[in-house]
């Protein structure tokens, strides 16, 4: 409920501003002397874990067994969860690239990003939230889990077409933190009375541990390309082809740890117990040997979690009060299914517009969003959410907050 109040606060505070562009979908070709664009994006989305759990994981609080049961009952064999918190700043400069091509102007951007994604089995959910005492005697699948968390900064430069608003930039990425984990084959089984544990697991864990501030570097590209479709009975408007943070990075000198366990354990014999606790025993070394523990340094190259989007945008060239928009978005990350969205934008006045959308895909299922935008003179503020239910009920599967501030120079 408090999140809803915060949302309303946004609406109330910015009511007096005028909006001209749809958020986050916009297009206009009005000449400017450049502009500064700030985007803030924070979301998390899950296929099966309800907000009553993810809210508490993020914001704190006790997760009760009822909450765990509620999400457990909807578990399918594999689930996904992902999230992002990012702020980026773009500067569309008034400076021409060359005299001959003065419609091409310099474009700069920088940003900071936190992203996580995971694709996990229901067995992992059971172990993590129930332990091995539930369900008794049943085999839990631990195979093919994967997840990562990356924090990085970006700085880039490129060109944009003042006429078409298409843009391209080449970015340098600095990785501040990189953590990844995965499992190959795996299962866990325990006896109904705890009389045995049967565990098979091949797993890897990678964590950046270098003492430098940036623990890796990368190169990515951002691009926006707008295609004008005219005189089409189905579609009049602009289609945007967009990509952000598409590229690769290398994490320097990370700790790569692997385990390979295939154990059917029914308890130690007395002789084994005396050896474990006897003179000269080394518990840590014995345990590492038992689980096939290996550790080494590595510098893995990985695909940056960028995204690609194709969709019809709302624009200011067509003066219809109501404009639809639709498209598809895909993150280049595990567990993310292409998200299809469909919505409509309504200009209430020159000062304010509102919109709504429905989407399906991504890290979870269906979501519905709302947004509004305000404009006054050369300033625009857009705020919205792709998951309005996330603010209203803990039974939903995510939360989203989008913020955009634009300043036309």
């Amino acid at each position: 409920m408090k999140y809803f109040i915060v949302f309303i606060l946004f609406i109330g505070v910015v009511q007096k501003f005028y909006a001209q562009h749809n958020f986050p979908l916009f297009y206009d070709t009005l000449p400017t002397n450049g502009q500064i664009l700030m985007n803030g994006n924070a979301f998390y989305h899950a296929s099966d874990i309800e907000n009553r759990i993810t809210n508490r994981l993020i914001f704190g609080g006790e997760i009760t067994e009822d909450m765990i049961d509620e999400s457990y009952s909807m578990e399918s064999a594999f689930q996904s969860i992902g999230g992002k918190a990012a702020v980026d700043l773009s500067f569309f400069s008034p400076w021409s690239f060359s005299e001959k091509r003065n419609h091409l102007k310099w474009y700069f951007n920088l940003g900071t990003y936190n992203q996580l994604a995971a694709n996990y089995s229901n067995g992992l959910y059971e172990l993590a939230f129930y332990g091995n005492d539930h369900p008794k005697g049943k085999s839990m699948n631990l195979a093919s889990n994967s997840g990562f968390f990356v924090t990085y900064d970006k700085i880039g430069a490129g060109l944009y077409n003042e006429t078409t608003r298409s843009a391209f930039s080449l970015n340098v990425i600095g990785i501040r933190n990189f953590t990844a984990a995965s499992s190959g084959r795996g299962y866990f089984n325990s006896g109904t009375n705890g009389e045995y544990i049967d565990l098979q697991l091949d797993g890897n864990f990678t964590q950046s541990n270098a003492k430098t501030f940036y623990k890796g570097v990368g190169l990515t590209i951002d691009f926006d390309y707008f295609l004008h479709i005219q005189d089409n009975s189905l579609l009049n408007g602009f289609v945007q082809f967009s990509g952000k943070n598409i590229g690769f990075a290398v994490a320097n000198n990370v700790d790569l740890t692997s385990v390979s366990i295939d154990e059917y354990f029914q308890g130690f014999t007395f002789e084994e117990l005396f050896n474990i606790f006897g003179d000269g025993a080394n518990l840590e070394e014995d345990f590492k040997a038992a689980v096939g523990y290996e550790s080494r340094k590595a510098s893995p190259v990985f695909l940056m979690p960028g995204y690609l989007q194709i969709g019809k945008v709302v624009d200011n060239i067509y003066n219809d009060k109501f404009q639809p928009f639709f498209g598809v978005r895909a993150y280049t990350t595990m567990g993310y299914k292409p998200m299809v969205y469909l919505g409509g934008n309504y200009n209430i006045s020159d000062f304010i517009h509102v919109g709504a959308q429905a989407s399906i895909g991504g890290f979870g299922g269906f979501r519905s969003g709302l947004y509004t935008g305000l404009k006054k003179e050369q300033y625009q503020l857009n705020i919205g959410t792709e998951d309005i239910l996330g603010f209203l009920t803990e039974s939903s599967f995510g939360k989203s907050l989008l913020l955009q501030f634009r300043w036309f120079l």
Binding site: V13, F268, F405
Partner: protein
Amino acid sequence: MKITSILLVTASILLFFGACRKEKASWDTRWVTPIVNDTIRITDFENDSTLGVNSDGSIQVLLDRSLVKYNVLDLLEIPDTSINQNFTIALNAITIQPGTAYVDEVKEHDFNVQNVVLKQARIKTGSAEIRVTNPLETAADFVVELPGVTKNGIVFNQEELVPAKQNGIDGEMVFELDLSGYLIDLTGENGQAYNVLQSKMKVSTVVDGPTVTMTNQDIVNFDIFFKDLKIDYAFGYLGDLDFQDTITTNVDFFSKLISGDVVLNEINLDVEIYNGIKAVAQGKITHLKSLKNGQTLNLNHPQINQNININAANVSNYLAIPSLTSLNFNNNNSNIVDFISFLGDEYEVGFDVNINPWGNISNATDEVFPNSELELRLKTDFPLELGLDNLTYLDTINFDFSTQSEVLRIKSGGFSLTTNNSYPFGFEIELKLLDEDNQLVSTIESEEKIDPAPLNSSGNGHELTENELLFEVPISALEHIQNVKSIVLMVKSNSTQLNDNVVFADAMLSCFLKTNFILNTAF
């Protein structure tokens, strides 16, 4: 305006994300894991040297253990010995043609082996360094032979070409020979002597050399230096050898028995002396002590500290067959029952064995073989009838919980121990958690215990009894778990009955220990 809107929006974001993390995210998970799963059967110890099974199914204690062993040959030392043989002419000078043998003589030398009459010995390891000198101005063939030293029937024989004298300096040759495996006859030329070694020197001028003149100033010389000689066989009189020692054995398990009593019905124990030397001897057990907590209990027996005659070993196919002399301890001739019941954690056995205490009465026919050993063994043969009266075992295990994870902690739970027991012994178990100052943090105990098995109706075994012991770890212990530095395990045992508490071959104890904990994850 723009500044105001930016600030308001920023404040709202902070409110959205920052206002809600007042506490950690936390949840509980339940974990059940096996820890110990094993069965101890009395028959696991059934073998020729530990336990046996009687016809009525009862257990017989048949220990057979070696306490100490000595190899006599390690005590027989042949010191490093040098022998010298030299030759010169009585005349003023003689002319020697090429190819002429001008020295051929045998000499006897004494081996200084104190107090030992050695007639024959076989070298296990050792060497001889030989140095020969040639005083003539022509090269010479030296043949060094040791007539009493043979290997596989072949007499020790070494031939060397020694260079001629040059510029006033005698020709010299030094060489070393390995004597391993050689049999040395030390009876001399007539076969009646002892500690005597013969040597033979034969020298010839080379056939292709010049004619030379030898004067009475020219000395032909050879030296043999025997060094690092170890023998693995000796025949003769070995001398008066004395073995004295005190053997101390620690029984760590008994050191942890802090109170209670053991009731034993019958003990039958032999201390056996095996003499693998073909020489008579005399020996005695000087003392047998049991020590515990500063107290000492001596084993009393009429023959403690009394000399016993020990026969010489017999010989068959060049191997020693040890003689056996034994000392028996039982309920009637000693306080062996009290001695064992004392449960000392340290045992001391003193002994003294003297080879040839009456001198050379064998007329120097003692023999020592490679397998000749003097050995002390312990043997038992009595039924396992053992009563336990609050016998308490205490052990301390170091355990550091201070590295417990900040994310994962034990919220509640404990252990369960399921047993099936057919030993006539029962057990009560208690754990005490101590901090670094050995102060009690908490106690973990069960209301149940492992019951001693009752006799079956036929009286030839015990009934299997099942128990489940639940050990709940107190919340106070979990809250202060990081202070725990050691765990004291206390086990108190009582038997089905104190007297005539027979242990049968079907005795077994199966234990299944598992944990059942609720872990709290919080971050």
